[in-house]
Symmetry: C2
DNA sequence: CGGCTGATTGAATCGCCTCAAAGAGCGTGG
DNA sequence: CCACGCTCTTTGAGGCGATTCAATCAGCCG
């Protein structure tokens, strides 16, 4: 991968932070970006470390986890391709960032990235808009954690995955059963939903018993009755 | 209150969004800001409404609440003087914003505010930094909601209040008991912590019984043993 | 065929919620 | 001045949902 072609073959070129930029901004970013691959389970950064870089996520799924001093963990965010990763303008990292599936990032060292942001107003605007969006996501997630039952959390998560899967989801015929590949393990799902792994498993079993979903593989879910699933998600 | 003096007597002039601005930016903001007072319990904005304004909070305390479609509510944020209030660049409001105590705001209609932000890079930078800060706050809150016990939530909240109270807190002598005025009612505390009002009350009773706090008034708390309180907050 | 990891299931417990009632603080009006 | 009604808080009893602890099961690789 040479530097001058780093953007031209970018899978998320038009959806990522860079998407709305003109040639000038793109060239500036291009100059400092480096590709990096992560294998499933590998960490991009650890909470508490000095914060040396930000990134765009090109492919794969990442989770952000925070932990209490005594070791209980919770995923405070999940990131999909084209999302912006990291904490610009922060000296220390507050979250551990881990690849949930194999992933590819476009990594920017933080100091030059911040300089480029400062020099290019359209880029700064995009960063602001994305940050505002992440803040809304985070607050939506809070409502979920604080006020929804295990049943609602799991059903809602499956619907989110289905919505996110988009083209990768498959159905036999229009409006028929929808089969998706879960991006996370049961344990990660529990982490994300503020539950235990056993509770997640039991809720899935319950949904399966009700005929609402089927689980052909452990990471594969078929939504057989999306209306009933939405019902249980409390998405009235 | 005339427009040309709106900033000069501002109580949070140096801590708010405007704090880091030069004369030019300040004049631009000054031109569009209007003071507004809210009485305790009064709402500044409702979730679902068109989003017509943002503001700086000058005095008092606000809460942001979100609700599930079936009516369960949770406070997803709490704001103190000098905080920035609202969702710039959003067409519709996602939260209900309510005054928890009497409050005063410096309100900016959204379209001109966004124009001023676009025209003044230092202002946009400040807004970005504040948004990043709110995102971190929100994620800290998520960890609390998802992984902490009622005991830890209540103890932690009291410590937060004490830290926030700063000069308004009083002690008889250095390192002695610290007395603070709670900015919220029991019900609002429950809303903020993802608990019920009864659970909050019971936890306070437990802390009182352990001699860790005293409650001379219903909204007044004396921290008699802050180390023990930190212990119960799980802030190891 | 073992051994490993991740998922499922079961039984028992515990923490928080729900429902209900009593108590405290406070302004109003007789 | 005190009785009344209102709101907020506290306390109690009981139930439910999620966790904990433990065992079994399924898939996968050596």
């Amino acid at each position: 991968m040479t530097r001058d072609q780093i953007c031209s073959d970018c899978a998320v070129r038009h959806r990522a932070l860079c998407g709305a930029l003109g040639d000038e901004e793109l060239t500036a970013l291009n100059g400092i970006g480096r590709r990096r691959r992560l294998r499933r389970g590998e960490a991009f950064a650890w909470s508490g470390e000095p914060n040396g870089s930000c990134a765009n996520l090109l492919s794969g799924v990442l989770k952000l986890t925070a932990a209490t001093p005594d070791g209980r963990e919770l995923a405070v965010g999940i990131q999909y391709p084209a999302d912006f990763v990291g904490q610009p303008f922060a000296e220390t990292r507050d979250y551990t960032i881990t690849a949930v599936s194999d992933a590819e990032l476009c990594v920017f060292p933080r100091p030059p990235f911040e300089r480029v942001v400062g020099d290019h107003p359209p880029l700064e605007r995009q960063l602001l808009l994305r940050t505002l969006g992440m803040l809304d996501d985070s607050r939506r997630q809070m409502l979920m954690l604080g006020r929804r039952s295990a049943q609602e959390k799991v059903a809602g998560f499956l619907l989110d995955c289905a919505a996110r899967a988009g083209s990768k989801a498959s159905r036999a015929y229009a409006d028929g059963p929808l089969t998706i590949e879960l991006p996370v393990s049961r344990g990660e799902m529990a982490e994300l939903l503020g539950l235990t792994i056993e509770t997640v498993s039991r809720q899935l079993t319950k949904l399966r018993a009700a005929g609402i979903i089927a689980t052909p593989g452990v990471r594969t879910i078929t939504i057989r009755d999306s209306a009933a699933l939405a019902e249980r998600a409390g998405t009235a």
